[in-house]
């Protein structure tokens, strides 16, 4: 057709590609809230995932003086370090393979028993299978050692084995693999269960009607259909096992694996170059598997796990097979119960292995000396939870519903932070935020300022004025000592409120500006607010309450004294919402300059992004770790909602932000709630990502367990583990209760989102 030929005339060169991208972004920018959420997600992921990972990876190639140096890679090939290094590498891979095999096998047994063998006590078995996901990192190793160690109850007391030098004990590869199998099989169970449930029975019935025997059907139909699920769970467990730090530290004995090597390089030698180099060795197999999983296995799946389970299920008829599966599942459940009972009883026994009489001594220690760590962990975990879950929903929404260049990148990087081993991320955090380069601050501020000027200014001249004036004044103001600066900034917000009162933008904006002003000023009053609390705690008898109340003052300070560079990011967005759409030109430019100069000041005062040692770096690490699960929950839930529901809201006059609040969010609320549960659990039980970030002021239970263990405080370590388990279970209980109230039978929270 002649017509179509004229159409194809539009050249598709690289230039028009760029032009199209620019046009695309300028179209998104018309909806400032949409663009803000995109920008915020992008900045968060860049600053807290991409930059730290880059620092870790590149760190191995440069020595302390900054010169290019391959020493630590060379060690794999020399004769002195080589054998040890290579052995550690092969041990790591062996551990991964064995744990993945064991975990997938156990997961399959549980899935098959629950879906097809009508195992009596389904509910209980299901929850027992999920129990390992909510326990703190060392708990199972600890229990194994208490039971089967050199002084273990079963080895020593029941079997009467006395340890002699050279005997095979629980420490080493065998113990490690058993513990990891139990720790990680839950994931495999959930994946395979979902697959089995969605396997259409008609396929197996069809095979049976064609005359195939049961075994033939299993090996030619059932198993091949499950292969993607089995492969997926195998790869996932392999990566989890490689990333695991807690268990190898406890139970690997004289074997060394990469994650522990990295840990020791940082904690023992304080050698970040070595740690980085080892991290690169560890990250390569992890990333390869992550990519294979994401772009190969998932696309090969025959059964889509997003749909609903098919109505009927094939039930195993042969009693031998049925009870074979059931009995193995029961035995493993018994083992799990035994492990957890050991942890709990361990916290009450006077001296494990010697004197088993119950005592409350360890608990007394835990709730007095340990209350700081417990409260800090809970507070930080809880504070990070809503942010992680909501950010996850926003990213999911952008990824599923919006079209923009770089969407794949956002999707990929948002998953990356949870996929890489935590140790690697932790090292990256320390390297990035200990002595941060000013380039980071300039980059973030520059991006935000450009966006601010673009949205608030009406033409090129206005934009230039806002940018230049605000940046100059802001950088200048940043030199003022920080005590007065918060007062100055607070007052500036009152000026802004005054200007806004002069526009026709309504009273809400004036009030919000004033409230922000008071909030910023309160930074200086933190001492005055928290002093009475601290005094009160000191006046009390030393013990649980005095420690707990003292922590409260610390926690209040976290809320009102965020690091200036992070506060700046939030205030740029607040500034946009406050100054958007002012009609009068002078007022528009004036308020724009004020609203931008404040974050500019904050961006460049003190040492920007110097976060190590504070609470916010731990919060960020938590969020990065739990973000992928929230994103996946959100994606799965959004994919089931007809996009035209959002379009309907849109064409009825609602913009993106109104639509998200009033339509999308209520519909994905179940996903949001399971995101909350999962995030909180992950925060409470995480170890590897934050072990390098804890400080004297901010302690984390997992780190306390490790140090207690090193000092031989087995019972206190057990008590800490018990506390974590109880807190997590309580949180899950409360959230499920809320969910059931809210949804009354509209389908509960799906815990399988951790996949």
């Amino acid at each position: 057709m002649a017509k179509s030929e004229t159409m194809v005339n539009i050249p598709t060169s690289r230039f028009t590609g760029l032009l199209r991208r620019y046009r695309e972004f300028s179209l998104i920018a018309r909806d400032p809230v949409l663009f803000m959420s995109l920008l915020f997600s992008g900045i968060f992921i860049t600053v807290f995932v991409v930059v730290p990972l880059f620092r870790t990876i590149s760190g191995g190639f440069f020595n302390a003086e900054g010169a290019f140096d391959l020493t630590y890679f060379g060690r794999y090939f020399d004769d002195y370090f080589g054998p040890g290094m290579r052995r550690a590498f092969f041990d790591t891979m062996t551990m991964g393979l064995l744990a993945a095999t064991g975990g997938s096998l156990v997961g399959f047994i549980f899935a098959y028993a629950l879906v097809r063998c009508r195992i009596p006590g389904q509910k209980v078995i299901h929850w027992l299978a999920l129990l390992p996901t909510v326990s703190p990192p060392f708990a199972l190793s600890l229990a194994m050692i208490l039971l089967f160690g050199r002084n273990g109850v079963i080895t020593r007391r029941v079997l009467g084995i006395t340890y002699v030098q050279g005997m095979n004990d629980i420490y080493g590869m065998d113990g490690l693999v058993i513990v990891q199998t139990i720790t990680f099989f839950s994931v495999s169970y959930l994946i395979l269960r979902a697959m089995l449930e969605r396997l259409n029975p008609a396929m197996e019935e069809a095979a049976a009607s064609l005359g195939a025997s049961r075994f033939h059907i299993f090996f030619t139909i059932t198993l091949p259909l499950l292969i993607p699920g089995i492969a997926g769970s195998f790869l996932l467990l392999f990566v989890e096992s490689l990333a695991d730090l807690g268990n190898p530290l406890f139970i690997a004995g004289n074997r060394t694996v990469l994650s522990a090597q990295i840990f020791l390089a940082v904690i023992g030698e304080y050698d970040y170059q070595k740690a980085s180099a080892l991290s690169l060795v560890l990250i390569i197999p992890t990333l390869v598997i992550f990519l294979v999983q994401r772009y190969y296995v998932n696309r090969r799946a025959y059964i889509s796990v997003t749909g609903k389970p098919s109505g009927s299920q094939v039930v195993e008829k042969s009693p031998v097979i049925r009870w074979g599966f059931n009995i193995v599942a029961y035995l493993i459940c018994g083992f799990i119960i035994m492990l957890y009972a050991t942890i709990i009883y361990g916290s009450f026994s006077s001296a494990w292995g010697v004197d088993f009489t119950p005592t409350l001594r360890h608990w007394q220690m835990t709730v007095t000396r340990g209350v700081e760590a417990i409260l800090d962990t809970t507070f930080l975990s809880a504070l990070a939870t809503p942010f992680a879950a909501i950010l996850g929903m926003v990213v999911a929404w952008l990824v599923v519903r919006k079209n923009f260049s770089g969407k794949e990148v956002l999707d990929f990087t948002s998953n990356l932070g949870g996929a890489v081993p935590g140790t690697i991320l932790g090292i990256g955090f320390v390297m990035t935020f200990n002595k941060p380069s000013i380039a980071l601050a300039i980059g973030v501020y520059g991006l935000l300022a450009l966006f601010f000027a673009q949205v608030v200014g009406k033409n090129a001249r206005e934009r230039l004025i806002i940018l230049a004036l605000a940046t100059a004044a802001g950088v200048g103001l940043a030199q003022v000592p920080s005590i007065t600066i918060y007062t100055v900034i607070g007052l500036l917000y009152f000026v802004l409120a005054g200007i806004l009162a002069g526009t026709k933008q309504g009273r809400t904006r004036v009030i919000i500006a004033a409230v922000i002003g008071i909030y910023v000023m309160s930074n200086n009053w933190a001492g005055a607010i928290t002093a009475p609390i601290a005094t009160l705690s000191r006046s009390m008898e030393r013990g649980f309450w005095s420690n707990a109340i003292f922590q409260l003052s610390d926690h209040i300070k976290v809320l009102i004294q965020p690091p200036p560079s992070l506060l700046a990011i939030a205030l740029v967005f607040a500034g946009i919402l406050l100054t958007l759409g002012i009609r009068h030109r002078g007022l528009r430019v004036g308020s724009g300059v004020i609203a931008l100069l404040i974050p500019c000041t904050l961006s460049f005062m003190e040492v920007p992004f110097s976060l190590v040692g504070g609470a916010y770096i731990i919060l960020a690490a938590y969020m990065v770790r739990s973000l992928p699960a929230s994103v996946r929950a959100g994606v799965a839930s959004l994919q089931q909602i007809d996009p035209s529901i959002e379009e309907a809201s849109n064409i009825l006059g609602a913009d993106a932000q109104y639509t998200f609040r009033k339509v999308t969010l209520p519909l994905i609320l179940p996903a949001l709630l399971s995101g909350l549960i999962f995030s909180f659990t992950r925060h409470m039980t995480s170890l590897s990502a934050i072990i390098f970030l804890v400080s004297a002021r901010w302690r984390i239970v997992a780190a306390s367990i490790l140090s207690e263990w090193e000092q031989g405080g087995v019972s206190i370590a057990s008590a800490y583990s018990t506390v974590i388990i109880i807190l997590v279970l309580a949180a899950i209980g409360i959230l499920s209760l809320v969910t059931n109230r809210v949804f009354r039978g509209r389908g509960g929270v799906d815990l399988s989102i951790g996949l």
């Binding site: 017509k3 159409m7 199209r20 379009e647 064409i651 009825l652 209520p666």
Partner: protein, 359 residues
């Protein structure tokens, strides 16, 4: 013109291994105030993309959309003051009927009493009074359809857009809703654009039908024009059924023509196009324009297949080696010729359309 599309094209950029797709190609269309215009065509013809560009869910790559004198090319949907009825209804599942209908009015921050009043009025209009407190999952398909319509109507939109709104209903309900939509649209005099692939729907509803195929407009016209004077083979084949019979022009005098088909000369009248003598042409002959007689003047043919459908008898007749479909609708002539019978075939020559052979 109230709403005009001027040379609208939509090219979807290559993404994820799929190469560039031209979904809509240089489409121009004028819609008057109060008119109901149907975009009709097979799936993938660009009709939905065109509608989504009018709505603002997609922006045209080139061309202009003008609403009431203002270019709205890249205006986001929520500023266009249009409303849309979706194929899936897209009812908000977490809101009841009243809340669904009031949604857009709430966005506009109208006073509460006015919202209640308008919601009740529109519920009345779609015969759903008393259903306001129902949850969407307590409604039947037809009722959900009415809620979706009410939610769009209550906004008193500048343009009402409908994307295959009836395709999820069963046949009987579809017929009922068809007349219902037309009645409401006429009463409120709402400018409407209606997308469908169902020709009967298009014929019964529209002031004007736009037939689309592969991203371009094949023909624009009233239902009568489209059926009686199809401008292309595609239109003739898509709307109703048609036989395409090849022939050659012998002579044309204004709107009268003599042509040769199946080796015989016939005279055609009422022509709209001009052809030169000797040109190859295609005749569009609808099955019901063909009469079959036992004997007499006409083209000799053999009955190859005969199907009795009650109100009509369908034949496949072989004429000069070609199969032609004929439909006998005249109840007085309801004699069933057996397969293999030799007959004579006559075309009612005044209603035949003529296109150039490659059209």
């Amino acid at each position: 013109m109230y709403l005009s599309l001027k040379n609208i094209s939509k090219i979807f950029p290559p993404r994820g291994g799929v190469s560039e797709v031209t979904a809509v190609n240089e489409v121009s269309l004028e819609i008057e105030r109060g008119e109901l215009v149907t975009l009709l065509g097979p799936s993938g013809c660009g009709k939905t993309t065109t509608l989504r560009m009018i709505a603002g869910f997609e922006f045209p790559t080139t061309g202009q959309i003008i609403l009431d004198g203002v270019e709205i090319n890249e205006q986001p949907p929520h500023k266009r003051e249009m409303s849309m009825v979706f194929q899936s209804y897209a009812i908000f599942p977490h809101l009841n009927v009243n809340e669904n209908i009031a949604y857009g009015l709430n966005v506009r921050h109208l006073p509460r009493p006015e919202i209640t009043e308008r919601v009740n009025r529109v519920l009345d209009l779609v015969h759903l009074d008393g259903y306001g407190d129902r949850a969407p999952n307590q409604l039947s398909g037809g009722q959900q359809q009415r809620v979706a319509l009410a939610r769009a109507l209550v906004m008193e939109p500048k343009v009402l857009l409908m994307d295959e709104p009836l395709s999820n209903l069963d046949a009987k309900l579809r017929e009922e809703m068809r007349t219902e939509i037309r009645r409401i649209q006429k009463t409120l005099n709402i400018t409407s654009v209606y997308v469908t692939h169902d020709q009967i729907e298009a014929m019964t509803l529209s002031d004007k039908i736009v037939v689309m195929n592969e991203g371009i407009i094949e023909q624009i016209g009233t239902p009568t024009e489209i059926y009686q004077y199809p401008k292309s083979r595609f239109v003739a084949g898509f709307i109703g059924r048609a036989n395409f019979i090849g022939g050659k022009v012998l002579n044309q005098n204004h709107n009268q023509m003599t042509a040769e088909i199946f080796g015989q000369v016939i005279t055609l009248s009422g022509l709209q196009n001009t052809f030169s003598p000797g040109q190859r042409i295609t005749l569009i002959v609808r099955p019901e324009m063909i009469d079959i007689y036992k004997s007499g003047g006409g083209f000799p043919g053999i009955i190859r297949r005969a199907v009795y459908l009650g109100n009509v008898i369908e034949y496949e007749v072989e004429i000069g080696g070609e199969l032609v479909t004929a439909a006998e609708t005249d109840p007085t002539k309801m004699v069933l010729y057996p397969e293999g019978e030799t007959v004579t075939v006559n075309f009612s020559e005044t209603t035949i359309q003529v296109l150039p052979a490659n059209g």
